[in-house]
Amino acid sequence: MSFSITINGQLHKTDVDGDMPLLWFLRDTLELTGTKYSCGMGICGSCTIHLDGEAVRSCITTVSEADGRKVTTIEGLSKDGSHPLQIAWLKNNVSQCGYCQPGQIMTAAEFLVQNPEPTTEEINDALQDNICRCGTYIRIRNAVADAAEQMKEA
């Protein structure tokens, strides 16, 4: 059985086991390591990617589920780090260890498409299941609000 997945605009054909979580296909097979492993059961958000534009947890999404679909990872969110969220993350100096931040950004990116003018409470709700152990939450909130502001103006 062979699978075709478009990842960051590039078509990949593979015959790995269809039950393999996308996370490990990305990290170990394609060596796209921006997507991080942390909990393995879809509760911490570190491995968040976009599947046809929808934010999903790649540790509980299989290769076969992604067959014929488009995957975007943090490496493909923008060409040059110019997504409003990436810019806002820099402006607010959000990252400490940075390990969870690709997942935070990927979650927030889909959220802002759904809700371009979020309240603080809505930002909290959207990122409630994205854990950051360094405790950068206050800056994450501010950065998402900043990005929303920027996207509105753009």
Binding site: G34, S95, G98
Partner: protein, 724 residues
Amino acid sequence: MSASRKDMNTFSRREFLKASGLSAGGLIIGVSLPLGVLGSMDSAGFEPNAFVHIDKNGDTTIYCGRCEMGQGISTALPAAVADELEADWSRVKVLQGDADKKYGPQATGGSRSINLMFEPMRKAGAAGKEMLIAAAAQTWKIPAEKCYAKSHAVFNRLDDRSLQYGELVIVASGLPVPEEPVLKTRDQFRYIGKPLQRHDQRDMVVGERIYGADKKLPGMKYAAIRHVPVLGGSVKSVDKTAALAMKGVVDVVEIPRFDKPFGSIGGVAVVADNTWIAEQALAKLKIEFEAGKNGSYDTVEYKKQLVRNVEAPAKSEFEKGSLDQAFEDAAVKHKATYTGGHLSHSPMEPMASLVWVQKDKCEIWASTQDPVSIQTTIGAYLDRKPEDITVHVMMAGGAFGRKFKCDYVQEAAACSKAVGAPVQMTWSREEDMRTGFYHSCSAQHIEASVDKQGKLTGWLHRAAFPPIASLFNPAVVQPSADDLDAVSKHPYGIENMRVESGMAPVHTRIGWYRSVYAIFYGFAINAFTDELAHKAGVDSLQFFRDIYANNKNPDQAEQVKRSLGVLNKAAEMAEWGKKLPANQGMGIAVHHSFESYVSMIAHVEVDGDEITVHKVDCAVDCGLVLNPDIATAQMEGAIIMGLGLAMNTEIRFKNGSVVNSNFHDYPVLSIGETPVEINVSFVGQDYRPTGLGEPGVPTTAPALANALFAATGKRYRSLPIKPA
């Protein structure tokens, strides 16, 4: 874990600078090693420890020897070097140094990096600048006094000519290194004290920062492991048949316990073509474990025993004045017992490293806080010399004390040795949570007396917790006098005091967790002080102020002054005393740890079971702040970690094994539980810089507990407040 002040002083006296001349076309300068700290040094100890490398084109590399785990040290220290060097920061590249004694002490913990390395690193920069100036003076044939350095160039005061640093490196490399370079005065700082952006922020948001779990090598294999669940237990039998039959499985490796402080607890690993296959195969192993002597460890029962041990007379380790007399003369007496659970560090990046054991060399890429202990531990394991183990220090995806211990690296080494290929082992979250070096669970009992004037007169403090020393010596069964120092040397003004150590035999591995013992000491001392203020009918802020002001010991005058400084600042920030709605309250705490001072006021609202933290105001005195933005981030993070351990998290043991498994039953703080507002102010910047990574944690839980009391009238003496 902190080096003594004596060591630090010895260190600064002995440091001196040395250039190792031109290498790869550039000027290299460094700071010598602190002989007094490292002990067994040979002639190589005169090699520099912090490199400044300037290429012929002026591109500058500054190496950071301290480990980066998110605290920003690889920006703060190199920025201090660049400042003294008068380098243009936009032309500086920061690189992480490998394990090497030329970098000086690399074990990164105890909030010591700035404390230890600020002066030596500045001297490395200043010496470089002086040599570049001397090179320009020689070129122009004028005295050095007629030259000055600014922004990557040396200028001629006589005619405004200038030479770029890159143009000067060859001449500069042949010059002697100044032994006592002149450091800038504070008004001359260009980067120190400024909110310079971290050098790695961009890499992080595009997924390009490479952690220990991310490193790749051609031909590498991936490993997963199941550990022996009980300390001292073992693998009784393992049926590998089904696992070995799986496509993509390379080998199943049994790893016996390696009886070193940071060695593997023991387990069985699977090496495979990718992590997923390794995890699948691991699940197919049929492993029977032998529990051993800790097989009945149960934290519910154990904590009850700790409470019994502190509510009865214990071993006296410190005494001053006459406590009995103070208690007899008391107008108000009060007692209370506080408890706290084991904690897991649970960094977002679980334990991970890539190891390649070859016949004639061993190369390691690890997320670590202590590359030198990797060299010694893996050296001992492979029976090789530590210096023959090459350790590349990778960015750690959080560490908090856990990545000080290299058991995970040794396990990867065991796998690499078995299969003859580079092996990357990433622990599953479950293994990470269940195979820790945990923060001690604890019980503390305090009794105190207040006289008619409302003055605190006597303090009895009993503490029982399994100490970290048990990791190195299993015969240790209770806190030592040194472990109790934070109480017996506390800057409170108390004339009559007794500090006692209660029995706490260890049944698991205990390790340093961000702030270490200050977590439970800070909690008990501050929570009890608030209770005492309430009993004595004195406003808490005033009561805290009076206790410090009552300390007339001249040796503690600075501690008192700085404690009061942060206390008063926090009170001002929070507008302490202002009227609040009935279900809201403010709580105050102040604590001194890692040579820094922190005071916090938490403002909470309680609605039924729901706790909302509206605001935390935090005043910090860590002396000079090198980078106010990074420093603020450290405090924000410490408060969030502090709230998590105060409200939610505890590692529980039953039948010797950890019950928790993942973030659903070890619920670290989420964004929704995060305070609406955190304000951080720095005071006391005239003092030399001191620790910042840890001192923000200890005040958080007591500020919260005291605020909850103010809001509800209920005392919370057991952490976490809302056990999972």
